[in-house]
């Protein structure tokens, strides 16, 4: 595999992931494309059902089949299409070149094996170290993620640790083989606010230190603003806006993005219930099996036009590196 200067680290092209259920076919990921370069921190923001988790899991091909299936598109990692790899080849990528961190630290670790066992496992699998060396590396990783007395903690079971500690263990496990990409799916959402700050700081530090690329998935716009460099906004399986984090917050283009930002009560300033009403987005997120015709946001959009209800808008560049999927900007 030869690398060229133009080759991006990760490129997703027109990804389609469908779930085949009794209620119908849910297009969980619908024509999603994006790219990521080395050392970048990319954010993916959206609410439940927007497809961000499915998209992340598709990159590692962790979609359970049935009921889900990747039906189209390509996922190119260092130029190679991951969708074309055999399961065995894919296993060499997982945990090794591309790792994932999950949302629920309480349940994402195996309760009957020690933390040391679980981290060493991935080290030995991908790097062929013997037990002793793997354990040393394991302790080093725990130290790197800020766990005190790591030599003692390797022998702990997950239930002996707090949520914040367990999430650090997950991060250590994900970084153990020095992957090039980390997919972090809501890594701090299930944690208390002060612990959340610790974990996000840790991810930022490690990302810089190890020059890993991180895809940070979250529903929290605050986390996006403070942590990432570029953002994808997703809604019902599609990317509706893509921009640098400054551009997104300073001049959001998609009505959904605007709506999200305005509906969050701000900590700065004097906004409270007496001064103004929160600008809500009316209606509910539609059922993925029964999406409206045309633009899927049209039933809730304050600036909807006739064309929006008939045809789905294309995804195009409005300003340099600022893309949006909306008829208003065409």
């Amino acid at each position: 595999m030869t690398h060229t200067m133009q080759e991006l680290l990760l490129e997703v092209k027109n990804l389609e992931v469908h779930f085949f259920t009794y209620a119908g076919i849910a297009k969980a990921v619908d024509d999603v494309s994006f790219f990521m370069d080395c050392g970048e921190m990319l954010g993916v923001v959206g609410e439940s059902g927007c497809g961000k988790t499915v998209m992340a899991r598709s990159i590692l091909r962790l979609i359970p089949d049935p009921p889900g299936r990747i039906v189209g598109g390509g996922i190119f990692f260092e130029g190679q299409n991951l969708l074309g790899l055999s399961e065995k080849e894919m296993q060499k990528v997982r945990g090794n070149q591309i790792s994932m961190i999950f949302q629920e630290p309480m349940t994402s670790l195996n309760p009957v094996y020690t933390v040391g066992n679980q981290i060493s496992e991935v080290i030995r699998l991908h790097q062929g170290l013997n037990k002793g060396d793997a354990l040393d590396r394991c302790i080093e990783m725990l130290r790197m993620v800020g766990i005190p007395s790591p030599e003692m903690r390797v022998k702990d079971y997950p239930f002996q640790m707090s949520g914040g500690m367990r999430q650090r263990v997950m991060i250590a496990m994900a970084l153990a083989c020095r992957p090039k990409v980390i997919l972090a799916d809501e890594p701090s959402t299930a944690l208390d606010v002060t612990i959340q700050a610790q974990i996000l700081d840790l991810i930022r530090e490690l990302q810089k230190e190890l020059a890993t690329s991180v895809v940070l998935i979250t529903h929290d716009l605050g986390v996006i603003a403070e942590t990432v460099q570029r953002v994808l906004v997703m809604y019902t399986g599609r990317v509706v806006e893509q921009a640098s984090v400054e551009d997104l917050f300073n001049s959001p283009l998609h009505p959904y993005t605007e709506g999200l930002m305005r509906s969050i009560p701000s900590l700065d300033g004097k906004q409270n219930k007496y001064t103004e009403r929160l600008k809500e987005i009316p209606g509910i997120v539609p059922d993925l099996c029964h999406l409206p015709q045309g633009c899927s946001f049209s039933p809730r959009c304050p600036r909807v036009m006739d064309v929006c209800r008939q045809e789905g808008p294309p995804f195009f560049e409005v300003w340099p590196d600022h893309y949006v999927r909306c008829w208003l900007k065409s």
């Binding site: 500690m165 612990i195 959340q196 700050a197 929290d220 986390v223 999200l260 906004q271 409270n272 929160l278």
Partner: protein, 323 residues
């Protein structure tokens, strides 16, 4: 205050959970969930109870409704002490105090249709005639933003936001004076939260409600509340009017909490205070000030003497040796 405008007054509320040790040889563990909490709520006021896991805010809410019995302390509802009240009298009082829970999925009986769910409170408290009840249900249903055709549906046929509206409707049925909202929007999607918050504000005006808003989300609390109490490990560490808390916080924990919240705006990465260590467990609270192990401002007496809640004037209370 000369006029008695308070609807709820809590005095030195304590709740300890005594956990027996395992088997015959285990040691007993006591959880000091709530350890001396006092506050008042005025009519049509919203008090926010804020803190992280283990701080005791949910337990306080449960104690208020006598869903759990307090270990000690007093709770005065409209002047009457409800701790130790007889079950019959408490039953009547339950009409005045209602609760909305965090999980809109778990708190609705899955086998009851919406019409039955909403009728139930009226039937239980024997309010009104059959036709009066039907009218009331229809009225409240519309007020919370649901439609008559929803009446025959089961809970699983509604979205998260709609289920929360149902919970609110159910709470409103008996015309309460106080509603305890325990994390009312945490489990909802961001775009739905604003809808529910707006609804709660409207209803407060219309039905003359007081709220106790229990939440970990400081931006929601800032929007909704008149006064805020910050809890840590079973105690209130700071309590003040909303603007005072956000602009003139006095307690180091309040500072850290505010600093930790990610703000959806791009600006210079401010010097954030990241607390070290884990959120502690209420089983073995530290001696002295409970926050001292994680506090960067601590002085000598912090690990020996527990600070009392001091009145700084203007209704701003703080429990810290530095103030």
């Amino acid at each position: 205050m000369i006029l008695n405008t308070s609807i709820l007054k809590v005095a030195h509320l304590k709740k300890y959970f005594l956990i027996k040790g395992e088997g015959l040889f285990g040691r007993r563990k006591d959880i000091y969930a709530v350890d001396g909490v006092s506050f008042t709520i005025d009519k049509q006021e919203t008090l926010g109870l804020v803190g992280e896991s283990g701080c005791g805010k949910t337990t306080v809410g449960r104690c208020l409704l006598q869903l759990i019995e307090p270990t000690s302390g007093e709770i005065f509802f409209e002047g009457m002490n409800i701790v130790g009240m007889s079950r019959d009298k408490m039953r009547d009082l339950r009409r005045e105090m209602q609760i909305i829970f965090q999980d809109p999925y778990g708190c609705l009986t899955p086998r009851m249709r919406l019409s039955a769910l909403l009728m139930e409170p009226l039937e239980v408290h024997s309010i009104g005639t059959r036709s009066e009840r039907k009218d009331r249900v229809a009225y409240i249903l519309e007020r919370v933003g649901l439609r008559p055709e929803h009446m025959q549906r089961y809970p699983h046929e509604f979205s998260g936001g709609q289920r929360q509206r149902i919970s609110i409707a159910r709470a409103l049925m008996v015309n309460p004076k106080l509603i305890i909202a325990d994390e009312p929007v945490s489990a909802l999607d961001v775009s739905i939260r604003a809808q529910i918050l707006n609804l709660l504000v409207e209803l407060q005006q219309e039905f003359y409600l007081a709220y106790l808003l229990i939440s970990h989300d400081l931006s929601v609390v800032k929007y909704m509340c008149d006064r805020i109490a910050v809890m840590y490990l079973g105690k209130i560490v700071e309590m003040a009017h909303r603007d005072e808390i956000y602009e003139n916080y006095q307690h180091p924990y309040t500072e850290a909490l505010l600093s930790a919240i990610p703000v959806p705006a791009v600006r210079e990465r401010r010097g954030r205070i990241v607390l070290k260590g884990d959120v502690p467990s209420p089983i073995n609270p530290p001696l002295g000030c409970r926050f001292h192990p994680r506090c960067s401002y601590r002085v000598e007496q912090c690990d020996q003497i527990e600070p009392e809640l001091k009145d700084l004037g203007d209704g701003h209370f703080v429990a810290c040796h530095l103030r």
